[in-house]
């Protein structure tokens, strides 16, 4: 569960990135955040991760309703261990192979090493990369790199998946392949995707939160 109560986020230079935003995303819901560049989509995702602190209002994340704006250090790390993220630029480690890239998501959680291989294999199978464990990111296409990022976001039973323009660098065919993976997870994890891609948003018929100049313009299913 993710909930925003009257949240305003301002940057150091005085720019209001998000203004009095309130919404709730129940557990295992699938939500699109749409809007122009600078509308506040990434700010919402980043503030769920604890990268921005609200100036006013509260952000609650997870089953226990952890107030993100008030935690730091180990508590923030523990919260992030339950969140998987997928970015437009993939953010995968170039010097590690596919297996190791996904493994990182498990080692930070102190999961028993006995579970490493089955868990990594399971999430890589869900994105169709189970046969390419020891290839390095440089050997993969953009779509395949994004699949590695999705596998890493799923590893270790992370319940909330945040994706910031996950198809922004991909061609239409690959975009649909990636979206197919996300839709296959619907109902199993809480998924929030920020995107510009209207075709994807209108075709998938999921809940849409529209943002404009840092304010929520509409929230519809």
């Amino acid at each position: 569960m993710v909930s925003f109560h009257d949240v305003t986020i301002a940057f150091g230079n005085g720019v209001i990135a998000l203004s009095n935003a309130s919404f709730e995303v129940p557990q295992n819901d699938f939500v699109f955040l749409v809007g122009q560049s600078g509308a506040g989509k990434s700010t919402i995702l980043n503030s769920i991760m604890g990268l921005h602190r609200p100036k006013t209002g509260t952000i609650e994340v997870g089953k226990s309703g952890t107030k993100v704006g008030r935690i730091k250090g180990k508590k923030l790390a523990l919260l992030r261990q339950d969140i998987g993220f997928v970015f437009q630029d993939f953010k995968i480690l170039p010097h590690k192979n596919i297996f190791e890239n996904v493994l990182v998501a498990l080692t930070v959680k102190n999961i028993s090493p006995n579970l490493y291989k089955p868990e990594v294999m399971s999430v890589l199978k869900s994105v169709g990369l189970q046969d390419r464990l020891y290839e390095f990111p440089i050997q993969l296409s953009a779509g395949e790199r994004q699949r590695v990022a999705i596998a890493r976001a799923l590893a270790g039973g992370r319940q909330i998946i945040l994706a910031d323009e996950p198809t922004g660098n991909l061609d239409p065919k690959t975009t649909w392949e990636i979206m197919k993976i996300f839709t296959s997870l619907a109902g199993q994890r809480t998924i929030i995707i920020a995107t510009h891609n209207n075709d994807v948003v209108t075709s998938l018929k999921k809940r849409i939160i529209t943002l404009e100049h840092g304010k929520i313009k509409s929230d519809s299913t």
């Binding site: 991760m49 730091k72 250090g73 180990k74 919260l79 261990q81 969140i83 993220f85 480690l93």
Partner: protein
């Protein structure tokens, strides 16, 4: 460990710089530390040479003198104490009179005062011993070279403080250099660290590889530095043996443990190398903590 070795290979020039600096500093600290201990041992040996001679009144009973001697021995400050009675003093006088019969005829053992010749374990004890003796009613005169002792103590202290200041400067220089190098490494892995943070890595998880890398490099550097030092000692041994032929044995007591400084003893060399490695590991830990403090929440 495996991850740290990979990270060392990923930044070879920074790692090599850290290694070379630490080898140089380890070697320098070892050379300075061993040189200092040698000088201090030499001074200690010279310091213990000055002695107190206490003359008792001629009619003092031997039992009284022995009581004073027993008290001094029980104080654990005495390296050596010799009783010179009237007869021994007279014999010494006759020897120094060089056979001059009139001088010998005019004297008798009764006029010579009995005395104690005292060597202290450490020159700093001499003043206390002298003060105690001066307070004894049967003591006629207490002789000791106060100025010489004071001068030796002041030289020893000056050497100790100079070396502490020098090693302190070296430590500070090394901390600053290693911190800068580690900061370079962190800058190279900035994106990787950001990814770890987003995945929920704790500060300990993020900083652990940097500590492991530092300790690996420091241990290797310390071992190389120690190897060079021990090799240098073996190489110089024939020349030093010739140069120091008058000195049969030197030792230095530190925290109640006596180290044999000359001729070389494997235990002393081991202690110096071990202490230097420990110092270098502490320096390495401090610099890594300074460089990674951003992640130490």
């Amino acid at each position: 460990m495996h991850e740290s070795l990979i990270n060392i290979r990923r930044a070879p020039y920074q790692s090599l710089s850290m290694l070379l600096i630490q080898v140089f500093v380890s070697f320098l600290v070892l050379a300075v530390a061993s040189g200092t201990i040698f000088i201090l041992a030499l001074l200690n040996s010279v310091e213990s040479e000055p002695k107190i001679i206490v003359y008792f009144k001629p009619l003092t009973a031997e039992a009284t003198i022995f009581k004073v001697r027993e008290y001094l021995v029980s104080s654990a400050q005495i390296a050596d104490i010799t009783y010179v009675d009237k007869m021994a003093a007279y014999a010494l006088y006759k020897e120094q009179a060089n056979g001059s019969q009139p001088l010998i005829d005019d004297t008798s053992p009764d006029i010579f005062p009995p005395s104690l010749e005292i060597k202290a374990k450490n020159a700093t004890y001499l003043e206390n011993i002298a003060t105690y003796l001066q307070k004894q009613p049967d003591v006629d005169e207490v002789q000791y070279q106060k100025n010489t002792v004071t001068k030796l103590l002041s030289i020893t202290n000056a050497i100790r403080w100079s070396i502490i200041a020098f090693v302190g400067y070296l430590a500070l220089m090394t901390i600053v250099t290693l911190t800068t190098m580690t900061n370079f490494k962190i800058a190279l892995r900035k994106e990787e660290i950001e990814i770890y943070e987003l995945l929920g890595a704790t500060s300990g998880y993020i900083t652990k590889p940097f500590y492991t890398e530092s300790y690996i490099l420091t241990t290797v550097s310390g071992l190389i530095g120690s190897g060079l030092f021990v090799g240098g000692l073996f190489y110089l041994q024939p020349s030093l043996t010739t140069y120091l032929q008058g000195i049969t044995k030197l030792s230095y007591t530190i925290y109640g443990q006596t180290l044999i400084v000359w001729p070389y003893h494997y235990l002393t060399v081991g202690v110096i190398c071990g202490a230097t490695l420990l110092l270098m590991l502490m320096i390495s830990g401090v610099s890594t903590k300074l460089a990674t403090r951003k992640y130490l929440v």
